[in-house]
């Protein structure tokens, strides 16, 4: 196979993933509104299309056609780059996610590490947005977000070390293959809990949505944004939710591996597990109140950090003694 053919195949794969992910991300907003509405005994969007099914498309059109306002005192260049800086890392990560045993864009030896590294860049977009807006609310939101994401990135990184020790590889496909008998969530329940909490904080979700706490900061770092730039922040947030959910499914729930002898293709299994994961994300948003800033930091450093350290130590001990 020539290099040109390979390049074309890769481009087609990238286009497919990009298109599908963008569409799914748009519909995640619909799903979130619907689920929260039903939990709160409301109906949610009902007007556009059957049960509001066309709502995301209407929203997209609205945001696209809206006037794009750049504040007078804003740093124009940074203000424009910031939403792009948030969106790009969130989408780049999809290049190494294993959607099934055969469908993925590329395999990298440092797979999971690549995901961690690239998604750590997302915080720049938020910090840039907060600073460039030249508004107090935005700046405060950005500062909170920087402190929060830096701290919780550490727990996120440490929580995946346990499963990685069991898998013996950083390659996403190999991690999935290592779970053909037992999912790692049964060996590493502690790591999964910490991972999930850290993932909530990394994606700025309730109960850790302090960077955009609307009751105190208007809308946090994206207060001054409008139109498509505003939409970019939300696309990035939902894209990141899908990424962390995929990582959770890959590391702890056997990725595209099926349960028992039920004959479903790997991709379907992956989608089912991903859907369940995302549902939990939305469920939590409808359930929990927001943490206070000092509570957030205390929970992280005084509770979760010792916990992940103990988990790594125990995993190492067990592996050394019994395996």
């Amino acid at each position: 196979m020539g290099i040109a053919v390979e390049a074309v195949i890769a481009l087609v794969k990238i286009a497919v993933v990009l298109g599908v992910v963008s569409l799914v991300v748009a519909y995640l907003t619909y799903l979130e509104r619907k689920i929260i509405a039903h939990i709160q005994q409301r109906l949610g969007p009902m007007r556009v299309g059957w049960h509001g099914l066309l709502q995301p498309i209407a929203d997209g059109a609205k945001l696209f056609l809206k006037e794009d306002i750049i504040p007078d005192k804003a740093d124009k260049v940074v203000f424009v780059i910031a939403p792009i800086m948030v969106l790009v890392p969130a989408f780049v990560v999809y290049s190494v996610l294993p959607f099934s045993s055969t469908f993925y864009i590329t395999q990298v030896n440092i797979g999971i590490f690549f995901i961690l590294a690239v998604s750590s860049l997302g915080v720049f977009g938020i910090v840039m947005a907060g600073w460039a807006s030249n508004s107090k609310y935005s700046l405060l939101g950005a500062l909170r977000s920087a402190a929060q994401m830096l701290s919780y990135e550490i727990f996120l990184g440490f929580s995946i070390i346990g499963p990685l020790m069991l898998a013996g590889s950083l390659n996403m496909q190999k991690i999935v293959e290592a779970q053909s008998d037992v999912w790692f969530v049964f060996y590493q329940p502690l790591a999964f809990v910490v991972f999930f909490i850290a993932a909530l904080a990394e994606t700025n979700r309730v109960p850790f949505d302090l960077p955009e706490a609307e009751t105190e900061l208007v809308a946090g770092f994206h207060t001054e944004y409008s139109g498509m730039k505003f939409a970019f922040f939300f696309l990035a947030e939902y894209a990141s939710i899908m990424v962390v959910s995929t990582v959770a499914v890959t590391l702890f729930f056997g990725g595209w591996q099926g349960i028992g002898w039920i004959p479903l293709p790997g991709f379907v299994w992956y989608v089912l597990k991903l859907g369940a994961m995302i549902f939990v994300f939305i469920w939590i948003r409808a359930t929990l109140p927001r943490y206070r800033y000092d509570q957030l930091m205390r929970l992280g450093w005084k509770f979760m950090f010792p916990l992940v350290m103990a988990n790594i130590f125990l995993t190492g001990l067990v592996k050394f003694l019994f395996l």
Binding site: N109, L121, V123, M128, N171
Partner: protein, 169 residues
């Protein structure tokens, strides 16, 4: 192909660095430094050191630079921009630059520069050089590795002592 990418990344590093030192606005300079780090990670990938590239992005770009930005944002950038940007030290700077350039030239020009391959680390040979790196780090270079961690630990304790106003008994 690889050569083309090498020159692309190299040009990126040089361009971003030049822009960085000439910006009056500190935040712009910090962001350009991040860009330079990213291009540097690209160079590491080309050299077959994927793990190092990941570390470069995770620690330098995603960690340290965010902390820098965090502290820079808290000061009034507007004042800093209005301050004098040139200190009439160009002659001194030029002399230092020439000296450094000569040193680099002398070291590289000796030819026998011990590269990774010459030392036989074999980092690029195994698929996924994480294993190889870990093995070398915990056997051959265990002592320097531990020294580095002790140094970091000391720095951390120092920072805590400085940040804590008074230590109650």
């Amino acid at each position: 192909m690889e050569l083309a990418f090498f020159y692309l990344f190299a040009a990126g590093i040089v361009g971003a660095s030049l822009l960085m030192v000439t910006r009056a606005n500190v935040i712009h300079a910090a962001l350009l430094l991040v860009l330079a780090f990213l291009f540097m990670a690209g160079l590491f990938v080309l050299a077959g050191a994927e793990f190092l590239a990941g570390v470069q992005i995770l620690i330098y770009a995603g960690g340290i630079m965010v902390l820098y930005l965090f502290s820079i944002m808290l000061m009034n950038v507007g004042v800093a921009v209005r301050l004098r940007q040139w200190h009439r030290q160009s002659v001194l700077a030029l002399a230092a630059a020439v000296l450094l350039g000569a040193e680099v030239w002398a070291v590289l020009g000796r030819g026998g520069y011990p590269g990774a391959k010459a030392w036989g680390w074999g980092l690029g040979q195994t698929p996924g050089n994480v294993e190889a790196l870990g093995e070398v780090l915990y056997t051959k270079f265990l002592f320097p590795f531990e020294v580095a961690s002790i140094l970091l630990l000391a720095a951390m304790i120092g920072a805590i002592v400085l940040a804590k106003r008074e230590i109650t008994r």
